[in-house]
């Protein structure tokens, strides 16, 4: 099972859950599992109309930004840790 850590900004959508485990092979699969777990509203809020992550949601696999890997097609293993956070960086 892939461990998924969720930023507290998504707490309203995740019913307060900050850490879950899902069974998936790719980030796309992880996001589908999360949508199934938390409802369609979760998917609607973090994905755009093309099914891609909205630009202000960043996903990391073991600390690596998926935009530098294979995007939502990035493969994940059961030992991987996925982090979903809001993209606020710099100032």
């Amino acid at each position: 099972m892939v461990k998924v850590l969720l930023s507290s900004v998504f707490s309203d959508l995740t019913h307060g859950k900050r850490e879950v485990e899902v069974e998936a092979d790719t980030i796309e699969g992880v996001l589908n599992c999360l949508t199934e777990m938390f409802g369609d509203e979760f998917g609607e809020k973090i994905l755009d109309s093309t099914g891609e992550l909205k630009w202000f949601v960043t996903v990391y696999v073991n600390g690596n930004d998926i935009r530098l890997l294979n995007g939502t097609k990035t493969k994940v293993d059961p030992t991987d840790e996925v982090l979903l956070i809001h993209s606020v960086s710099g100032g």
């Binding site: 630009w55 990391y60 600390g63 930004d65 956070i85 809001h86 606020v88 710099g90």
Partner: protein, 410 residues
């Protein structure tokens, strides 16, 4: 109207509005929030500012602090706008101004957003504040926090310049060096904020924090007698300063202080970390982050710019350019600025001058345009970069013979 109604928060994407609390992300769509002012009820004229203090707080009505007793004013802002004839001539421009933010209390423009963030933190009743920083913000925030009596936490990446670490440390914050890049440091700081409730100035106080930066635009206009230049060059790390500059000019137009703002704002990044420039040149609407920025301009080494997407939109709206400068060009520009105008800048200041030179050489800025170049940080923060190539000082014995030799040379 009560003053509390003057300020609210508004979503950049869906327009949802919220009261001015510690919220920083839209509850409906998760986009970032900005501060909104009830400008229709704000009565401002050019005379409003006539006798006011020459700091950023002179623009109080357009800043988000409601309780004047909470304002922390260390004198940040209202920095000189210097007509730079020798540099202009060297670059082939008729009229060039340097907006010299090296003279702020901690020698960078970060004193502006820090003043607002700390003041707002006091207004919220907070006793602690933190930041994720490449150096300048940490110093500015720590200084303002010291002035306000707040505990400050500065999260910084490893390998920052020694003078920057010394400077931030002198104000006695808790300095935490993260074994990673700035982006990893920022992520770490966000998790500290989420798990321990610490307010991070450039994360969860961001809507208020960033308002301090737009005062650069206000001042440029006021110092040009409520005009606007043809072109402004702004350095970019996250893109927050760029977006704030754009917003500042537009706000002046909305409140009626300036008519028909038609200014091109160009964006400058170092070649070793130029995700916004790359996206702009490739016609993209999204940013591909840089995994391991490598540039002498460490204050601009933000590989995943949080406001990059918005900077792209504003660049296209105002028909600005986005250009990058190599490390060598940045250092040459620092030298050129120093020897023509007597201003010693850190690399973020060299980047804007270097990019300005490129845009002029490429014919993108005409010789008759009036240009303002932001110089956002002082050179003593990064002295080690400029040691090579400095003219060697002469050593003499204190004798008449030596004097004759020296005077003969002079």
């Amino acid at each position: 109207m009560s003053d509390s109604e003057r300020v609210s928060l508004v979503c950049r994407e869906c327009g949802a509005e919220y009261p001015a609390t510690r919220l920083y992300i839209c509850k409906k769509c998760f986009a970032p929030l900005d501060v909104k002012y009830d400008i229709g009820r704000t009565s401002l004229s050019k005379n409003t500012f006539f006798n006011r203090k020459k700091t950023l707080w002179r623009y109080y009505e357009l800043l988000p602090v409601l309780d004047k007793s909470k304002i922390v004013d260390m004198g940040a802002g209202y920095s000189p706008l210097i007509e730079s004839e020798r540099l202009a001539k060297s670059l082939g421009l008729r009229k060039l101004f340097i907006k010299n933010d090296t003279v702020n209390p901690t020698c960078s423009f970060k004193d502006r957003p820090s003043a607002v963030a700390v003041s707002k933190a006091l207004e919220f009743g907070l006793t602690k504040i933190g930041c994720a920083s490449t150096g300048n913000l940490a110093a500015a925030l720590a200084a303002h926090a010291a002035k306000a009596g707040l505990t400050c936490y500065a999260f910084i990446p490893k390998d920052l310049e020694p003078n920057k670490i010394l400077q931030m440390s002198i104000y006695d914050p808790e300095v935490v060096i993260v074994e990673g890049t700035y982006d990893e440091t920022n992520r770490f700081a966000m998790q500290v904020a989420e798990n321990y409730g610490l307010a991070i100035a450039n994360v969860d106080l961001r809507p208020y924090y960033v308002e301090g930066s737009k005062t650069l635009a206000f001042e440029v206009s006021e110092q040009l007698e409520w005009g606007v230049p043809d072109h402004v060059i702004v350095p970019a790390a996250s893109g927050a300063l760029y977006c704030a500059t754009f917003r500042g000019f537009k706000e002046l137009e909305r409140v009626g202080l300036v008519k028909d703002v038609d200014v091109r704002i160009s964006l400058a990044q170092p070649s070793g970390c130029s995700p916004i420039v790359t996206a702009f040149k490739n016609g993209k609407e999204s940013i591909t982050p840089i995994n391991a920025p490598k540039t002498v301009a460490k204050s601009l080494a933000v590989g995943s710019p949080g406001d990059g997407v918005y900077a792209l939109r504003k660049l296209r709206e105002c028909k600005g350019f986005a250009e990058e400068a190599a490390d060598k060009e940045i250092i040459e520009a620092i030298r050129l600025l120093a020897k023509t105008e007597g201003i010693f800048a850190e690399p973020a200041g060299g980047v804007t001058v270097a990019v300005l030179k490129k845009l002029i050489d490429e014919g993108k800025i005409g010789p008759d345009e009036t240009v303002v170049c932001f110089v956002t940080g002082g050179g003593l923060k990064t002295p080690e970069l400029m040691v090579d190539g400095i003219k060697e000082a002469r050593h003499v014995r204190p004798t008449l013979q030596s004097l004759k030799l020296i005077m003969g040379g002079i």
